[in-house]
């Protein structure tokens, strides 16, 4: 069985929304987000509730843009980085849409799109809302140290994006689409022995290379068939490793048509983010703003969106376990 599933009915991505934090708003893509929230707490009393509000706001904004009410939405898919995916669960409590919570670490946006597209393609749901979020402050306290603790970050470390993205899929062929979903490739967990939680790009790059190779083999395509290959948050280190791994595997990538959301979301020179951005929100806000904008502008016709996840927990990291990585991919095409 191939790992790639062709979506014969071409589910339609009819709307996307990206809600970004202040630092992200000051980044290179600041002009394309739907909303920039300058207050890290988003008017809430904890980082967790703030992140949940990002998630909720992205979902609501996306539904509004798609002209669909929560009652008309058949399923909400997605998650975040927090323990027990609380941000998504608390947002789903408010949205009242049938909810499937997903955890794929930073691959969650691609994972939710893959499942949403398959459910829509099969005709099981009419409208699927896919969303993912992350928040620098909530992730920092869960995975690393208290915010105000003055430790140094290593050069390979990445900066968790504060933000949430949501995309609305529809099975109704009469609805105007920003793009359509044609294939999904579900990733296998790959672990090449990296245990350094401050070098997640290196932990995730082999999974990205594996999924990409399987995708090319299953579909008979190569990198030249895509206007853009987009990875989630490999950062500079993972980006460079993936380029090299693909070269070794005989599927070389063209640097000008390969983009990593972690490198797009911040200006590494001026924003002190070291290897780049990370987190579920990273690929989610870039996809739901800039990528959809490029589809709308006709700048791209076919892309492979592949978000990668480092499936680590603080517990197993402290126990010395290596970091399992995963990457899920979905092909998005302009509506013919």
């Amino acid at each position: 069985m191939p790992d790639t599933i062709e979506l014969k009915n071409r589910p339609r991505l009819i709307a996307g929304a990206a809600i970004a934090g202040k630092k992200e708003g000051e980044g290179p893509l600041g002009g394309v987000y739907d909303k920039i929230i300058a207050d890290d707490l988003f008017g809430e009393e904890s980082w967790e509730k703030a992140e949940s509000r990002f998630y909720y706001t992205a979902a609501r904004t996306c539904l509004e843009k798609g002209g669909i009410t929560p009652e008309q939405t058949d399923v909400l898919l997605g998650g975040d980085l927090l323990n027990q995916i609380m941000s998504a669960s608390m947002a789903a409590r408010e949205l009242h849409i049938p909810f499937l919570g997903l955890y794929g670490a930073c691959s969650t946006m691609a994972e939710s799109l893959c499942i949403g597209a398959m459910l829509t393609d099969g005709g099981y749901v009419g409208h699927a809302l896919c969303a993912a979020s992350s928040h620098f402050c909530s992730a920092e306290r869960q995975y690393r140290f208290p915010l105000e603790y003055g430790c140094q970050r290593t050069p390979t470390a990445q900066w968790t994006v504060t933000g949430a993205g949501a995309a609305l899929l529809s099975g109704d062929p009469s609805q105007p689409a920003l793009c359509v979903c044609t294939h999904v490739t579900i990733g296998r967990v790959t672990d090449m022995g990296i245990a350094d939680a401050n070098n997640m790009g290196a932990a995730m790059a082999p999974a990205a290379a594996d999924t990409l190779r399987r995708h090319f083999e299953d579909t008979g395509r190569s990198a030249v068939d895509y206007d853009l290959i987009i990875t989630g948050d490999l950062g500079q280190v993972g980006h460079d490793i993936l380029m090299e791994l693909m070269q070794q595997q005989g599927h070389p990538l063209d640097a000008s048509r390969y983009m990593d959301c972690g490198l797009e979301v911040f200006d590494r020179e001026t924003q002190d983010v070291h290897a780049g951005g990370s987190g579920c929100g990273c690929s989610a806000i870039v996809l739901c703003s800039e990528i959809l904008r490029r589809f709308q502008a006709g700048e791209i016709r076919r892309v492979l969106f592949m978000a990668t996840g480092a499936l680590l927990s603080t517990t197993t990291s402290q126990q010395g376990e290596t970091i399992p990585g995963v990457a899920h991919a979905i092909v998005l095409e302009a509506d013919a």
């Binding site: 208290p146 603790y149 003055g150 140094q152 280190v237 090299e244």
Partner: protein, 158 residues
């Protein structure tokens, strides 16, 4: 993985070794010279402040030596706690690394930052339970090491 006796096959091990080499080659290294310089001047500056407080204690305030050094430590701890609360100290730490946390300022920051962070989970299980998450290991092993050294010292001076 679940079979405790199994080792990776030689082929797999070679693959893992090759990947590790690739990662080591591509991952940027910390700038050692720059790090040392920043730690040196910030750490030195904090120690100089301590010395100034010590002299103030001994001179104008007329304290005896032990009181003056307690006064100096208290001032540094207070200043660090204030800067932590104002959200400045983490930036100093990012800049200076060990230069900021090896002096007693590091200890103050390690106590105040969890106190601020976990206050939301309540005074007892939040603040109380997590206050020592960073300083705890230093205290446990610092005190243990000093006890061990003390015993060795007592034995050799018998």
């Amino acid at each position: 993985m679940f079979d405790k006796n199994s080792k990776p096959s030689p082929k797999r091990q070679a693959q893992l070794d090759r990947y590790k080499q690739l990662v080591d080659r591509i991952s940027p290294k910390s700038a050692l010279g720059q790090g040392l310089f920043r730690a040196w001047w910030v750490g030195g500056f904090i120690c100089m402040l301590g010395q100034i407080f010590l002299e103030i204690g001994r001179g104008p305030l007329g304290m005896i030596n032990s009181a003056a050094s307690t006064f100096a430590s208290t001032c540094i701890v207070f200043l660090t706690a204030l800067l932590t609360g104002l959200g400045v100290f983490d930036k100093i730490g990012q800049y200076a690394g060990a230069g900021a946390f090896v002096p007693i300022s590091g200890f103050a920051n390690a106590m105040v930052s969890p106190a601020m962070e976990f206050r939301r989970e309540g005074l007892v299980l939040g603040l109380g339970g997590k206050l020592f998450t960073i300083a705890g290991p230093v205290l446990v092993w610092g005190v243990s090491a000093s006890v061990a050294v003390g015993i060795i010292y007592a034995l050799i001076t018998l």
